[in-house]
């Protein structure tokens, strides 16, 4: 059973065309997926429905149809939120309070006793490299520091499911690395991480499975390994004639691979290397977007 199950959710909005006319726009057209104890990347172009899906999962908005369950319970049950951590896109918290005051708020919500807080806060602040600034007002933090603080706060309840909306955007490489390491650590500890991102390289590097959403529909859902194999363009063969020092490079499609190999052998070539030529996740995503544009 998945930690998070999203079943056929549909959501429509009404866009104002004129004073009286409204246009119906389907933001989600039946989105389904499940997240297990893994790192699950959710990618798509702007306006594809990523944030709408996340808002529905967290019950900030209600779907027109479909169901979401978290740890086997409806997402509308307040008790499931005890096991969730969430970081919104470009997060913001009151500038006037200190980092510790925000962590205290989170500790209050989850009922963490006062005598345990110092230890818990220290662990979290150490994780995001913010030790020593917790007593300063958030107004003195940089954008990245705020994001790291709020990320640390999402871990205060040791969540079973962590939902992150664009967690890497606006972060420097150090900040990205901190969050990536924390995500991997959570997965190692048997937790589920569901996150959306524009930084495809990070998704490719971190995720076990990926869903591509375009125009409110899931176009592809698979493991990174399977996706890359599915989108194999061909092979690059580096060869030379026996006894010669001249190296030659050939490209072949997957269908022609074996006959081409036989041809090379019969012509007296020896193979130095064979490398698969794959579409990157980014190219795959772009191909879906282009397909959609052509269809429009």
């Amino acid at each position: 059973m998945g930690v998070l199950q999203v079943n056929n959710i549909k959501k429509r909005f009404f866009r104002k065309r004129s004073l009286l006319k409204k246009q119906e726009v389907w933001a989600l057209k039946g989105v389904s997926f499940d997240v297990r104890k893994e790192i699950f990347g959710f990618i798509g172009p702007n306006g594809a429905g990523k944030t709408t899906t996340i808002k529905i999962i967290l019950n900030f908005i209600r779907p027109d149809s479909g169901k979401v369950s978290i740890l086997g319970k409806s997402n509308r049950e307040i008790s499931v939120k005890k096991h969730i951590g969430f970081l919104p896109e470009r997060p913001y918290i009151y500038n006037s309070i200190t980092g510790k005051e925000y962590l205290d708020f989170c500790a209050d919500v989850y009922g963490i006793p006062y005598y345990e807080r110092k230890k818990v806060f220290l662990t979290l602040l150490e994780l995001v490299d913010l030790i020593g600034v917790e007593e300063q007002p958030i107004s003195s933090y940089s954008k990245g520091m705020v994001q790291r603080l709020l990320f640390a706060a999402t871990l205060i309840n040791d969540p079973e499911l962590l939902i992150l909306d664009e967690p890497m955007s606006g972060l420097d490489p150090v900040g990205r690395n901190i969050i990536a390491s924390a995500m991997k650590d959570l997965k190692r500890r048997g937790k589920a991480v569901f996150y959306s991102s524009h930084i495809i390289q990070d998704v490719e590097r971190l995720s076990d499975r990926v869903a591509i959403i375009v125009d409110g529909e899931i176009k592809l859902l698979d493991t990174i390994t399977n996706i890359v194999q599915k989108f194999l363009k061909g092979y690059v063969l580096t060869v030379r004639k026996v006894g010669s020092n001249n190296i030659e490079v050939f490209k072949t499609t997957p269908g022609d691979f074996w006959p081409f190999l036989e041809k090379l052998r019969s012509e007296g070539y020896e193979i130095i290397s064979i490398e698969p030529e794959r579409l990157s996740l980014e190219e795959i995503l772009v191909s879906y977007i282009q397909k959609k544009r052509r269809a429009d």
């Binding site: 967290l58 900030f60 307040i78 939120k81």
Partner: protein, 266 residues
């Protein structure tokens, strides 16, 4: 129930806002203005100064209540702080109640500090006046006036939360809050004029009476004359009835706010 963490966070946020100190500083300035006005207006200078000081006190608390309640709640929604709060095990009704409670605490502290400033100002002004003996009764009566001003602030804050969850524009919500307050303040005299006039039709009289009983009546909380004129006595039943009105109305406004917020898409 996770009302208290939201209340604490709201209270901390509001105390550190510039408007808190800014309006209190403004109040000190208004005390000086009251003293200056009392010197140029005919009559008992201390009473005139008290009248103006308490009026400024009333309006400053009203302004603080409108700005803090609408500003804080609206900021939560527009700046996405609400996502950080509601992704935790906090119900929407807990959020509304917690927000309101935090605002009430801030309004309470603001009223207390204002009371301290205004009472000190009035005592200094009365001690400076010739042949005027500051009496403890004045302080006692200012305490009663301050409690009523606090109730008015809480009443307005409840409306502030309602307007913030109802409107999608902060400016519209603030203007509506100010409009609601000013109309609610002038309701009693309008009703008196209309009902006693022979030129107003019975239907219009009825409409005004219906509006009078439904619309929030902020003038009920304006009892500054009680402190200024020691001859005035207000029966205990008035205090009791205003308190019941206040409790029932605030409960109803919060129920409506929760109802709206529970259905709002964030």
């Amino acid at each position: 129930m996770n009302v208290l963490p939201v209340a604490r966070l709201t209270f901390k946020e509001l105390l550190k806002e510039k408007s808190f100190i800014g309006l209190l500083t403004g109040e000190v300035f208004l005390l000086f203005i009251s003293k200056l006005i009392s010197n140029v207006v005919a009559g008992d200078t201390v009473k005139v100064a008290m009248d103006f000081s308490l009026t400024f006190f009333f309006f400053t608390v009203a302004l603080y209540s409108i700005f803090s309640s609408i500003g804080s709640t609206f900021r939560d929604i527009s700046d996405k702080v609400i996502y950080l709060i509601l992704s935790k095990p906090i119900r929407r009704e807990d959020y509304v109640l917690g927000k309101f409670l935090g605002i009430v605490l801030a309004v309470g502290l603001f009223t207390f500090l204002s009371f301290f400033l205004v009472t000190s100002g009035i005592l200094i002004m009365s001690s400076l006046a010739h042949l005027y003996v500051p009496h403890i009764v004045i302080v006692e009566r200012i305490v009663v006036v301050s409690i009523f001003i606090f109730f008015m602030g809480v009443f307005l804050s409840a409306f502030g939360v309602l307007l913030a969850v109802f409107f999608t524009s902060q400016i519209l919500a603030i203007f509506s809050g100010i409009f609601l307050f000013l109309v609610g303040l002038e309701l009693s005299p309008v009703k008196e004029i209309v009902t006693s006039s022979k030129y107003v039709s019975p239907l219009n009289k009825l409409i005004v009476q219906v509006v009078y009983y439904l619309f929030p009546n902020f003038s009920l909380f304006d009892i500054k004359d009680y402190a200024v004129h020691l001859a005035i006595h207000i029966p205990l039943t008035y205090f009791f009835l205003v308190f019941v009105y206040f409790i029932l109305y605030v409960a109803a406004v919060l129920a409506v706010s929760t109802f709206i917020f529970d259905r709002r898409e964030l």
